[in-house]
Each structure stands twice: as structure tokens, then as C-alpha cells.
């Protein structure tokens, strides 16, 4: 079996979700080829084919298009099928030409499955799988289903017609996809993200949280959908109640200024540290130092960091955004708070801090057990093999 994965860039070392998926498939003798716009030279896991470049200068663009068309001559039958399919979907001649160029690197391949890593990645390539005689798979990851369609109404109409099987990381995202028009008849499989539990292991966590030095932690991109500002607002009230703490936010992003301003305006300069992006080793150390992990996202596919935090025995307080309430079992492995209720978040933080040590320990143990049961790489790899073979 040969599977083609379409991604915007080759996965980095820490992106276990994708690297372990590829490894798991290869171990079962499945040949994996990656189609990507950006290629990291360090990536050696499988064959990578770069998508055709878009040139600013028209002359170069025309020459590049001609070159790709010539390369597709041996695949004339596929090309013909592709053009007929696009025509059936009322695509204009100029758009067919454009799409043929952009998909030429896939159209020349023989695959059993063509799988798009995000739903947005499939836009403009909906007919390709059928044209090359492959099954079409697509993954729902969060932003692509929960946010992107608001600005692009009806963007997945063609995708829903062509896709053979969808992979969702949470039930909530699948529900949202149905609302967006995905047929309930379409095959689907839920495969949650997973982590390498040998890396994120609890190391004798102390559950006596000193009131003078409570350590909060969030590992996230600095983006509005991550709900960092509501977390800061809750912690500012927490501070007003006389608690002393350190809150470290790990990650980078375009909302840095908005967040730095909120920290200052909320009087949290001496409490909150924006520590930037960190290597995995350092992240593990930060998990070890922290008592409570916060993830009060406004929108969230599933959240790997919350699985890691649970695996490391942290007390997790999260929002109920999309997959988060499936990630954390409320009152069992952590606490799930409705979004847009800063007061409830503040109250829950205080409640958690003041739980008996034995109660905290129990939640921490539950969390570790649940991660080992449901969110390991081995399980995920097996589920992905099933996805293509069943």
C-alpha cells in the first residue's frame, strides 16, 4: 500500500502526532510519501515531494506551467480524468489550468490513499484523489473546522462530496463538520493526539502547594483562540485575593503585544513570565516545576500540551472548548470550566489550590492513568493503520 500525506511543511522533531503516524505506517510495511510546500533538510523519515512554486513574475510562471504540463504527458489518462472531474464541478478553464499546475506533483503519482493533514489543505485539490484512482482521507485538527469556515462560507462543499473517510481528533470537531455540511454517511474515525509517555513522566510531584509560591503553567501559541487573556484576568483577581504565584507562558505568536499589554494593565508584571519557545527538554523541566496547568482556550482541537501535563501529574484546569472536554475528564483527571466565565475559572483555581493533598494526588494519578490508557503513541499508530486498512 502507498499513502500520500499532504502537509504544509515536513513535521518537526517534536511533532510526534505526525512523525509517529508515519513511523507506525512504515512499520506495517506501508509506503508513505509526503507532499509539502516547505521541506526541512533534516527530515529523513520518508520521501518528500515539494509542491510546485508560485512565481511572482508571469514569464517564470508560464514557463513553470509548461514544464509541469510536459511532465504530465506520460500521465495523460489521469490528467484527462482530472480535467473532466473539474469540468463537472463547473471549474473555469483558467482555474483548471491553475489547479493542474498546483497539483501536478500529486497527479503524477500512484497512490492507494491521498490524505490531507488539515481540511484547509484539501482546498483546491478535492478532485485529485479520484483522478489518480486513490481514496481520499482528510484530518480535522481544530482551526480548519472550528474557525476557518466563518470567513470562508461553503469552503468545504466540494470536499464533503469527494472525501472517502475523515479523521477527527475529537467528537466535537466532527459535530461541527456535520453542521458545516459533511454527510453523516461519510466514514469517520476518531484518533486523538498522543504523546510519548516515556518523555513526559511524572517525577515525584509534590501536592503540598505553598501559598507563597504557586506555579502555574501554560504551553501554547500566543493566539487569541488560546484564551490567554481570560486566564490573566482570572489570575489578576486571584492576586487581589492575596495569593502569591508565578505564571509561566511558554510559546510565541503574533499576539505578543496584546498579551504583554494585558499583563501590564492587569498589574501582573511581577507574576507572569512570557518565556518564549522552549526545547522539549526544557518544557519537561517546566512541567516538573509547575503545580497547576491552565488551558482556558476559546477554541481548541484537542491540545497535546494538556495530555503532556496530565501525564506529568499536573493539576489541569481547562475550558470546554471543542476537544478539551474530551481530553480532560471533568472532576476526575482535571477540571473543565465553561468558556467566557472568568469568574468560574478564578473560583476553580482557588478551589483546586485549597483541595486536600490526598484529593490532588488522586486527580493527578487518575490523569496519568488515563493518558497511559488512551493517549499513547502505540495506540495512535495502531488506529492509523486501521484507518487505512479497514
Amino acid at each position: 500500500m502507498r499513502i500520500g500525506l499532504v502537509l504544509s511543511s515536513t513535521p518537526g522533531y517534536s511533532e510526534t502526532f505526525l512523525t509517529s503516524k508515519i513511523k507506525g505506517l512504515q512499520e506495517q510495511g506501508i509506503d508513505v510519501v509526503l507532499f509539502s510546500q516547505q521541506i526541512d533538510k533534516e527530515f529523513k523519515l520518508c520521501t518528500v515531494i515539494k509542491s510546485p512554486r508560485v512565481y511572482k513574475r508571469k514569464v517564470f510562471q508560464i514557463l513553470a506551467m509548461l514544464f509541469q504540463l510536459v511532465r504530465l504527458i506520460p500521465h495523460y489518462a489521469t490528467l484527462k480524468r482530472y480535467v473532466i472531474l473539474e469540468k463537472k464541478h463547473n471549474t473555469s478553464f483558467s482555474n483548471i489550468l491553475k489547479k493542474t499546475y498546483l497539483n501536478s506533483h500529486i497527479l503524477s503519482q500512484q497512490l492507494d490513499w491521498l490524505h490531507f493533514g488539515f481540511a484547509t489543505q484539501a482546498l483546491g485539490s478535492e478532485m485529485v484523489a479520484k483522478a489518480i484512482g486513490a481514496k481520499m482521507g482528510v484530518s480535522f485538527r481544530g482551526f480548519d473546522i472550528a474557525i476557518y469556515p466563518f470567513k470562508h462560507t461553503g469552503c468545504y462543499d466540494s470536499l464533503w462530496k469527494m472525501v472517502d473517510k475523515v479523521h477527527t481528533i475529537s467528537d466535537d470537531l466532527l459535530k461541527k463538520a456535520y453542521q458545516l455540511g459533511l454527510s453523516k454517511e461519510t466514514y469517520h474515525q476518531k484518533i486523538t493526539p498522543a504523546i510519548d509517555i516515556s518523555v513526559f513522566q511524572e517525577s515525584n510531584k509534590k501536592f503540598h502547594i505553598p501559598e507563597t509560591k504557586i506555579h502555574f503553567l501554560t504551553i501554547t501559541r500566543l493566539h487569541w483562540k488560546k484564551g490567554i487573556i481570560p486566564m490573566l484576568e482570572a489570575l489578576s483577581k486571584f492576586k487581589d485575593q492575596g495569593y502569591d504565584f508565578i505564571y509561566k507562558i511558554v510559546g510565541e505568536g503574533k499576539e505578543y503585544e496584546r498579551i504583554a499589554f494585558a499583563i501590564s494593565q492587569l498589574g501582573l508584571d511581577d507574576k507572569v513570565l512570557l518565556v518564549g519557545k522552549k526545547e522539549r527538554k526544557e518544557v519537561v523541566k517546566l512541567y516538573e516545576e509547575a503545580h497547576v496547568y491552565l488551558q482556558y482556550s476559546i477554541s481548541e482541537g484537542f491540545c497535546n500540551a494538556v495530555i503532556e501535563a496530565q501525564s506529568m501529574g499536573l493539576l489541569c484546569v481547562v475550558s470546554d472548548a471543542e476537544g478539551l472536554s474530551e481530553n480532560v475528564a471533568n472532576n476526575e483527571t482535571g477540571w473543565v470550566i465553561p468558556r467566557f466565565h472568568v469568574k468560574e475559572l478564578e473560583n476553580k483555581i482557588i478551589e483546586v489550590i485549597n483541595f486536600k493533598e490526598s484529593e490532588k494526588k488522586q486527580v493527578s494519578l487518575n490523569a496519568q492513568e488515563r493518558v497511559q490508557k488512551f493517549f499513547t503513541i502505540e495506540q495512535q499508530q495502531k488506529q492509523f493503520v486501521d484507518f487505512y486498512l479497514r
Binding site: 474557525i147 466563518f150 483562540k225 504583554a260 499589554f261 494585558a262 494593565q265 476559546i298 467566557f340
Partner: protein, 391 residues
């Protein structure tokens, strides 16, 4: 006396902000010679006291470089050499700096008044040539940029003592800026002024608040706090009060579209793109309340305009808004980042009687007439510049 005084009001582009454009017209009207530099995107005005030394495209930039290189070599060679040494010290973008600096050196205004505090380092050189350097203190450049960028804060600490004068659009920002250097003595607070003749007050003849029509105006930027407004309106909706909320200038924003959908308020909230000034005024006249949900502002012009026109204000207590609004007297003012308080204030507006509504908008108009008339702004600016020159 003002006749021969040359003032360069610089923001890098022409036209600049509404406030600056009003200032240019007003100051030129009382005899100041206004010098404009930078990139021009409109036709030159026929005002004989406004002088344009601007460029419009790559070719005109090149022409400007050649023209002023020649003029400076012929008439101010010593100064040119001195400036060239300064430009050399910058190390990069030398040609671009020459395009920017040469016209300023050649026309040597008495005062070079820059609008963006972040760029003071680029303009300190004018002091070497006897030009007074004046800086306007503006929201972002003082309130959050130096917080997010520590090197900027250090630059302010180093250079603020050398600036000849600061103009502040509100009182609170002076305190903020003084964190970097004690500038109280050389700062003058001059409020933004409106042309009151063009904003005729319309008292409400009836206050039919079903639905309550709410409006916000302003480009989509996090500091405008629209996400809080949406949260507030979700709470407001839960109170069972019928409303329609329009935001002008925030069309097609991912965050707002997402929040509106999550709160199931598609029917009640409209996002519009930018509108003409007249379009905005018409909308302001039509609605019941203008909402300013910002987390940071100077003194918002839209609020002053709505107050002048006779539309009630609900505003957060951000920036200098408490220098304009007195809660329940000439509008409503609520704490920042507080959707509950915002929803409550909107409810208070919805429950006003026609008499109460009229009392508040009459007070609001009075406030604007007393403190925000463009004539007053111009007189204060004239006084400010004279003080700088006599120092």
C-alpha cells in the same frame, strides 16, 4: 507674529490623522507656515500657507533626492556634510534617509513636530541644526509598545530629556510617559478639537429603543476591545432586551466572526467595513448608543463626535475617556475588560426615559463645546509653539 514661523508636522504620510489634518488647516489659518514632508497620497490643497515637500512614488523619490542634493550642495554645503556624517553613522538605508532628511534640512522649519514617539531616534539630528524638536505622546507608542519592547523603553529614557517639548492629547498619558523621564514641565495637554459648525446637534424627539441600536466605530485592533463588547452583548441578550449592534471597520475578522457564532448572535450583530466620514455621521445620528469597548485609547474622536451630534455614549474607562465622561451625567463609563458592567450600562440606557436621554445628550454636547472646540485647540497649540520657541 506667527506669520514667519515654520512648523513641520510630521507623521511620514500626507494625509495624516484627522486630528493632524484639522491642526494643519487651523494653524495655517492663523498664519503659521505649515511644512509637510513624507509620502503624499492626496492632491495638494490650495491653502497658500501649507507647503508640500513630499514624494508620491519611486520616481519622485529619486527626483527629490537629486533636487535636494543639488540645492544643499549649492546653498548649505556645510550643513549637508554635517548631516551626511550623521547619516553615515546610522550605517544602513543611507539613500532612503537622504530622501527623508534632505528636504527637512533644506527648508529648516523652526519646529519639527513628530507624531510617532517610536521614531524620535530618527529625528534627534534636527536639533544639531537649531530646529526645535517636539513630540506628540500617543497611545500605543507610550502605553504598550515600550512595555512589549524593552529596548524602546530604554531609548525613551535616554532621549526624552533632550526633547524640547511634548504635546499630550490627554492628561493620563503624561503620567505614563513620565515613567521614562520627568517630562511634566515641558508637556502641554491639548485636547483634540472638533469643528463644531459641521456637527449639528440633533436632540432625540422620541426614544424608541426596540430594538436598542448600538454602534461601535474603529478599525479592528485588539485594543478596541470588541471581543468584550460581544461578550457584553451576549449577557445583554440574556436579559431579554432586543438590540442590534453594528461595528464599523471590523468586517471579516476571524476572532469576531467566531465569537458572534459561538454566542449565536448572527441576527443581532453586523460587521461593516470602513465607511466615509459622512456615512459614519449618518449612522451615529441613527443609533441610540455609541459603545466604546476599548482597553486602550487616547480620547476617542468618535466619542467626541457622537457627543456633539446627540448620541449617548457607553464607554470603558480607558485612556483619557474619564477626562471627558462623567458617569450618568453626560454618558456612561464602565471599567475596562468588564462585560458585565458594559451590559449593565447598556441596560441603563435602554431603560432611560426620553427626558433623561435628552438631559444626558445636552450635557454631552456642552462638554464637547467647552473643551473640544477646534478653535480652542488651535489657540492652545499656538501658545505651545510660542513657548517652545521662546525657550
Amino acid at each position: 507674529m506667527t506669520k514667519n514661523i515654520k512648523i513641520a508636522i510630521y507623521s511620514g504620510v500626507v494625509p495624516s490623522t484627522t486630528f493632524i489634518e484639522r491642526l494643519n488647516t487651523g494653524l495655517s489659518g492663523i498664519g503659521f507656515q505649515i511644512l509637510l514632508f513624507g509620502n503624499r497620497r492626496i492632491k495638494k490643497s490650495s491653502n497658500k500657507n501649507i507647503h508640500y515637500y513630499t514624494h508620491t512614488n519611486k520616481l519622485s523619490k529619486l527626483f527629490q533626492l537629486i533636487k535636494y542634493s543639488v540645492l544643499l550642495s549649492l546653498f548649505k554645503l556645510k550643513d549637508k556634510k554635517k548631516l551626511d556624517l550623521i547619516i553615515d553613522a546610522f550605517g544602513k538605508n543611507k539613500r532612503l534617509l537622504k530622501v527623508k532628511y534632505y528636504p527637512v534640512l533644506y527648508h529648516s522649519p523652526d519646529i519639527f513636530h513628530i507624531q510617532w514617539t517610536k521614531s524620535i531616534e530618527d529625528w534627534m539630528w534636527v536639533k544639531e541644526f537649531g530646529i526645535k524638536l517636539v513630540v506628540s505622546l500617543r497611545g500605543a507608542h507610550i502605553n504598550y509598545s515600550p512595555i512589549a519592547n524593552k529596548s524602546l523603553a530604554k531609548m525613551y529614557q535616554r532621549l526624552f530629556p533632550e526633547i524640547d517639548g511634548f504635546h499630550a492629547v490627554r492628561k493620563a498619558i503624561v503620567t505614563e510617559a513620565s515613567k521614562y523621564s520627568d517630562i511634566f514641565n515641558k508637556t502641554q495637554v491639548i485636547y483634540s478639537g472638533l469643528n463644531m459648525d459641521k456637527l449639528s446637534f440633533q436632540t432625540k424627539k422620541a426614544f424608541d429603543n426596540t430594538p436598542l441600536r448600538i454602534l461601535s466605530i474603529g478599525r479592528n485592533h485588539w485594543k478596541k476591545g470588541y471581543s468584550y463588547a460581544l461578550e457584553a452583548l451576549s449577557l445583554f441578550n440574556n436579559k431579554g432586551i432586543d438590540f442590534h449592534y453594528t461595528i464599523v471597520g471590523a468586517a471579516n475578522d476571524e476572532e469576531l466572526l467566531f465569537l458572534r457564532s459561538e454566542m449565536s448572535l448572527e441576527e443581532n450583530i453586523t460587521f461593516l467595513g470602513e465607511l466615509s466620514f459622512e456615512g459614519v455621521l449618518n449612522l451615529m445620528n441613527d443609533v441610540d448608543v455609541l459603545l466604546l469597548p476599548s482597553v486602550e485609547e487616547g480620547i476617542a474622536n468618535v466619542v467626541l463626535e457622537a457627543m456633539a451630534l446627540g448620541t449617548i455614549i457607553v464607554s470603558t474607562d480607558c485612556g483619557g475617556m474619564n477626562e471627558v465622561l462623567l458617569d450618568a451625567k453626560n454618558g456612561f463609563i464602565v471599567p475596562i475588560r468588564n462585560p458585565f458592567a458594559m451590559a449593565e450600562a447598556l441596560q441603563k440606557v435602554a431603560q432611560l426615559t426620553l427626558d433623561d436621554y435628552q438631559n444626558i445628550i445636552n450635557e454631552a454636547r456642552k462638554t464637547v463645546e467647552q473643551n473640544h472646540d477646534i478653535k480652542m485647540t488651535i489657540a492652545q497649540m499656538e501658545d505651545f509653539y510660542q513657548t517652545i520657541l521662546n525657550h
